[in-house]
Amino acid sequence: MTWDSFIYFAIISVLLWGSGAALAYVSKHKRWPALLTVAGLIVFSIFIAGLWISLERPPLRTMGETRLWYSFFLPVAGLLTYLRWNYKWILSFTTILSTVFIIVNIVKPDIHNKALMPALQSPWFAPHVIIYMFSYAILGAATLVAIYYLVREKKINNKAKLMEMTDSLVYAGIACITLGMLMGAIWAKVAWGHYWSWDPKETWAAATWIGYLLYIHYRLKKSSSDKTSMILLIIAFILLQICWYGVNYLPSAQQSIHTYSS
């Protein structure tokens, strides 16, 4: 399976996710939206598995390949949030964001080949990147909630419940970011001789991490304002975007040992 067949899998997945998200607004039971979302995820994961086999390496090296995982994990994060917190709008938000990344991959695919440089040939490679992509998706969902809050602030009835959900997403997200970062540190010791090299990607990863820590610690304050918390979340997500791909456009990326997209 190659990128040429991606569009077909993507269309089927997006249709399934979209109908699941639409059903979430009308259906009384959570079963059908959940089943449709899961069906979409299965179709999408068949493509990832096929690509993995045809590339003979984990499809995690290029930006396009990380976008692929992100598009996959967003509906996962949306589904978990939907099942746990009953917000019917979250599935449509994650579906739309996932579709954006799918479109980017269709319009502007990277050069994909089988080569995997020696530094990436490690058992740490897959868990390090996958857990990061999963955390980016969860924190993406948290950002969607923050935007939703800031846009509709006056119309939200149960703010406490929404804040509780946001906290849950951020805790899960930062737990995964921490796991990804520390796995990266252990791997870096094995691959590059040191667990922390102040590589631009590492520095921005630390900035992102601190951004979400700020949110968590600010929320623990008794007098914290919900609005400020949500703004903090959006700033942290901007840091996350710089860390993920923005850093490639910064001059410091010229020396980065984290750029692998030829």
Partner: protein
């Protein structure tokens, strides 16, 4: 930057705050949620402390060894040479490459085509065909070890198992507007042979970029001062440990590519590593705790 005074003070300030917060928390009544607090905060404190002390005490050197030679001197980043309590003998050095690739280039600039998104084709076997930047290519022959003989009018590519041999692919190229297909050898050359391009027309040629490295490894014998010897293989992502030193595969002589007979190692000694790892594993456990326990429910 990391050695500047503001940075060191900032680290010290952070450590102090973290330490005081941990002390303050330990005086109040403890609950099960405090396990997560200590794992995360004490873990970070320990990892930071070990990292700061480690960055002062750590030693990092590179060592360049030729095949068959023994070396016990390493060079610091400053260029200073230092003698080490261990010696390494390079027995063999090997490089494995991926299959060769073909690209279409613009004759004038040498840039890969299409300019907006360069395409490449990785060799999969003789007889295969592909489309690259609007050019139809058929691979008609493959020589993994080739020698190239040429003068101003004549070129011959022959199989030859020799040091410095290059990779060559014979391809037939056709594209719309071309009267008949062109056929010829394409090679990326080596330190002995210059590369060969197959010119399609006035604008474009077929070229073979340098092959990507799949794996490089050094077979070594290490000697320590107390007389211990050890044979080992060092690869990227597979360092070995000799006493306090971690030995990493770092580089090789890239001017000779796969015929490099020189291997470069990095040797690292960090006496605080165990402390840092203690902190890292506490933080890993703390992250799992956060993931499972989630935020504290607010009494509303």
């Amino acid at each position: 930057m990391t050695t500047s005074w503001p940075f060191v003070l900032l680290c010290f300030y952070n450590l102090t705050i973290l330490g005081l917060t941990i002390l303050k928390r330990s005086t109040r009544k403890q609950t099960w949620r405090d396990i997560g607090f200590y794992l995360n905060h004490l873990g970070l404190f320990i990892a930071l402390l070990g990292g700061i002390l480690g960055s002062a005490d750590m030693e990092r050197l590179t060592m360049t060894i030729q095949k068959g030679q023994v070396e016990w001197r390493g060079s610091l980043q400053t260029g200073e040479i230092k003698e080490l309590p261990l010696a390494i003998q390079l027995d063999t050095f090997m490089i494995e490459e991926y299959e060769p690739k073909l690209v279409i280039i613009e004759n004038e600039t040498g840039k890969m085509l299409p300019a907006s998104r360069p395409e490449s084709y990785m060799f999969e076997g003789v007889g295969k065909t592909t489309q690259l930047a609007g050019v139809a290519l058929t691979i008609t022959d493959y020589l993994p070890h080739a020698a190239i003989f040429r003068d101003s009018t004549f070129m011959n590519v022959v199989p030859m198992m020799m040091e410095g041999a290059t990779t060559a692919l014979k391809v037939k190229a056709s594209k719309p507007g071309l009267a008949q297909p062109v056929e010829g050898w394409v090679s990326n050359g080596s330190y002995l042979f210059p590369p060969i391009f197959l010119q399609i027309d006035d604008e474009t040629s077929v070229a073979m970029p340098m092959q990507e490295i799949k794996k490089y490894s050094s077979h070594v014998t290490t000697f320590t001062e107390n007389g211990k010897t050890k044979e080992a293989v060092i690869e990227v992502n597979k360092p070995i440990q000799v006493e306090d030193w971690m030995i990493y595969q770092y580089s090789y002589d890239d001017t000779k590519g796969k015929y490099s007979d020189t291997s470069v190692f990095e040797l690292v000694r960090d006496p605080w590593l165990k402390v840092v790892y203690t902190g890292i594993f506490m933080l890993l456990a703390g992250a799992l705790f956060l993931f499972i326990a989630g935020p504290k429910k607010k009494a509303s």
